[in-house]
């Protein structure tokens, strides 16, 4: 870690602090204030985009712990979100639970589903684990369809308006604030989980699982912990999504979403909390661009051009990042920061 000029660490607490200078505190405070005042001047459309981005960020933090830090690749994240979303939807709609109690239960249910489908990871890794998680995605959705009497099957399930402490979260602004609270909480917890003993064990497993095991890291325990924690985030995100739309349906949790979540992680940069956020923002902005450009292209070229533009642009951006910047936007951002840290007296940096 290279420090900014003029920043000195004099004790252990300073060494361990996430935000080490006044300027960093200032930046974070400014960002929070900006998020807080956003609804005052942004349109409903923009708030919707920010809210969906927020939900995705919560989910991606989980995937980042699981895949980015622990190296257990999961292409079933959207399925785990479905578990969380449906659990809290059923608790609210069928049993009349309050929103604040249903959400943690949804998260827990997703975590348990994660444990269950994480079991194969004890024996297999790499591509085999990818296939197991893809299977998890399809099996979860199939089970949801089978449990028609409580989930509504393919028809979906209406979810009542979420209420917290007498405040009905029915407007876009209300829900935006709720999601942003979760974004901030999940970012703080995600950033700190990877600095704990468990987090270091995750990184050791990712870098070389056999070596980690020889060093005394229990693969059995930590791989399952990674699945549990990662899927809890997915569960929270899933229940936020379901209560936002106030409708739970299997179309909200398609297989391709699981793929794009990994794509977001690659574009943003794996194994970094900031990277997860960068990735979500970048790919969601691309989505919006496609929504705007699609109809224009469809009118100019052919009616099917809009659909193909969405597929091709998403595929291409992942290909481009994999080839030219496999460490993602986060790495770019670090390089820019390093450059300006020494600016204007820059010298040749040694990698």
């Amino acid at each position: 870690m290279s420090l900014r000029t003029g920043t000195f660490h004099e004790n252990y607490a300073q060494e361990m602090a996430t935000l080490s200078s006044r300027r960093q505190w200032g930046t974070v405070a400014a960002l929070l204030v900006f998020l807080f005042v956003c609804p005052l001047f942004l349109s409903d459309r923009m708030l919707t985009i920010l809210t969906t981005m927020g939900i995705a960020v919560v989910s991606i933090h989980g995937l980042n712990i699981l895949t980015g830090y622990c190296g257990q690749i999961s292409i079933g994240h959207s399925g785990f979100m479905a578990v969380g979303g449906y659990t809290s939807a059923i608790l609210c709609a069928k049993l009349g639970w309050p929103f604040w109690a249903a959400l943690p239960c949804g998260a827990l249910a997703a975590g348990i589903a994660g444990l269950l489908f994480g079991l194969p990871s004890l024996k297999i890794k790499g591509f085999y684990l990818i296939m197991a998680t893809i299977a998890a995605q399809f099996i979860i959705i199939w089970i949801i369809i089978q449990l028609r009497s409580i989930t509504g099957g393919t028809d979906g399930l209406l979810v009542p308006k979420p209420v917290i402490g007498g405040i009905v979260l029915s407007s876009k602004t209300n829900y935006y604030y709720l999601v942003m609270v979760f974004v901030v909480l999940s970012t703080i917890t995600a950033h700190n989980i990877v600095r704990t003993r468990a987090g270091r064990a995750f990184i050791a497993i990712r870098d070389n699982d056999l070596a980690a095991e020889v060093m005394g890291v229990s693969l059995w325990s930590y791989k399952l912990q990674a699945f549990f924690i990662g899927c809890i985030y997915a569960g929270v995100a899933g229940s936020l999504l379901v209560h936002y739309v106030r409708f739970a349906s299997i179309e909200q949790f398609p297989f391709m979403d699981s793929v794009w979540y990994l794509g977001m992680l690659i574009v943003g940069g794996m194994g970094s909390t900031a990277g997860a956020i960068f990735g979500v923002v970048a790919l969601k902005l691309l989505d919006e661009l496609v929504t705007v450009a699609g109809p224009i292209l469809a009118a100019a070229v052919a009616p099917q051009a809009a659909a193909s533009l969405a597929l091709i642009s998403h595929g291409l951006i992942i290909i481009i990042f994999l080839i030219f910047e496999p460490r993602g936007l986060h790495h770019r951002w670090e390089m820019i920061k390093t450059y300006f840290r020494l600016w204007p007296f820059s010298h040749q940096e040694i990698e």
Binding site: K123, I130, I134, T154, L210, I312, I318
Partner: protein, 295 residues
């Protein structure tokens, strides 16, 4: 009994589709340790290419086949050179995401060029119909079976008697040794992508000739991985056997269990259940080699 046999025969047809996809997948995997998620898309593209050359271009069958193979060779070469070569030595996730991205790009191209529509060209290809008792065996499964057996026979000959085949087997065994004796690994990789793409496209044309070209073939590609895992990821013969087993099991299970389940649709997820079971209890499949790991 007739019901059971009909299910088995339909399953055979499904199994042959799986096998055709699985063969291409295994070839690439054997040589370059790349897991090609887009193999099902090669088959889909093949189906559409067959339609393009046979219907709007009106070529005779042999010319259409040659033209499609030519396109497949170029496609395989371009994909290997532009997308996979920069990723040599990268982690599994990067490679898998690359092939997933490739599959979406191929899907997007197919949508753009052919409008994601169902394109039929029945009757232009020779069909074989066979009846055993009251059960009619669909021409799809027979053609699939014949083509996959021919493919496997040709590939066996290629692997056994040609220089490039030997190089491919050696690369699968040990990359460093191969490079130290002066074999260009990149040539081997390119060859494996070309072969996989050609196998996929030929399979696609035949399937398209029977059931029409459509986007669903790409989705079947995902289910075909259950076949690959069941057969053992590095066994070409295993891919065919497992394809037939899984196709039949899937249809029989769905035929008998679907009426008992409220939502049905067991055939759609059955391969994934098999996948999990295989992964947990026998990760190297029926005919694959167990992988021993050292630090």
């Amino acid at each position: 009994m007739t019901f059971f046999l009909q299910l088995v025969v339909t399953g055979l047809a499904q199994g042959m589709v799986y096998a055709l996809i699985a063969i291409g997948f295994v070839i690439i995997l054997k040589c370059s340790e790349v897991f090609n998620i887009a193999q099902g898309h090669f088959v889909m593209i093949g189906g559409y290419l067959g339609w393009t050359f046979l219907v709007p271009f009106g070529l005779p069958i042999w010319a259409a086949l040659l033209a499609a193979i030519a396109v497949a060779v170029v496609m395989g070469l371009l994909i290997e050179r532009l997308m996979l070569r920069p990723l040599i030595g990268q982690p599994v996730l990067a490679v898998v995401m690359m092939t997933i991205a490739l599959s979406t790009v191929l899907g997007g191209l197919a949508t753009l060029l052919w409008g994601a529509e169902y394109k039929a060209y029945h009757g232009l290809l020779p069909t074989i119909t066979m009846k055993v008792g009251e059960i009619s065996i669909p021409s799809e499964s027979l053609i699939g079976l014949i083509v996959s057996i021919i493919c496997v026979a040709l590939l066996m000959l290629l692997f056994r008697y040609t220089k490039i085949g030997l190089a491919m087997r050696a690369t699968a065994e040990d990359l460093q040794v191969v490079q130290s004796v002066g074999i260009k690994a990149t040539t081997v990789y390119a060859a494996s992508w070309i072969i996989a793409s050609v196998v996929g496209v030929i399979g696609g044309i035949l399937l398209g000739g029977v059931s029409g070209a459509n986007m669903d073939l790409a989705l079947i590609g995902l289910k075909a991985f259950a076949v690959v895992l069941l057969g053992g990821v590095n066994s070409i013969g295993g891919a065919i056997v497992a394809g037939i087993i899984l196709g039949m099991l899937e249809n029989v299970a769905a035929g008998y269990l679907d009426p008992l389940l409220p939502g049905g649709g067991l055939a759609q997820v059955f391969p994934f259940f098999v996948m999990i079971i295989v992964l947990v209890f026998r990760p190297h499949g029926l005919f694959g080699l167990a992988h021993i790991q050292r630090v």
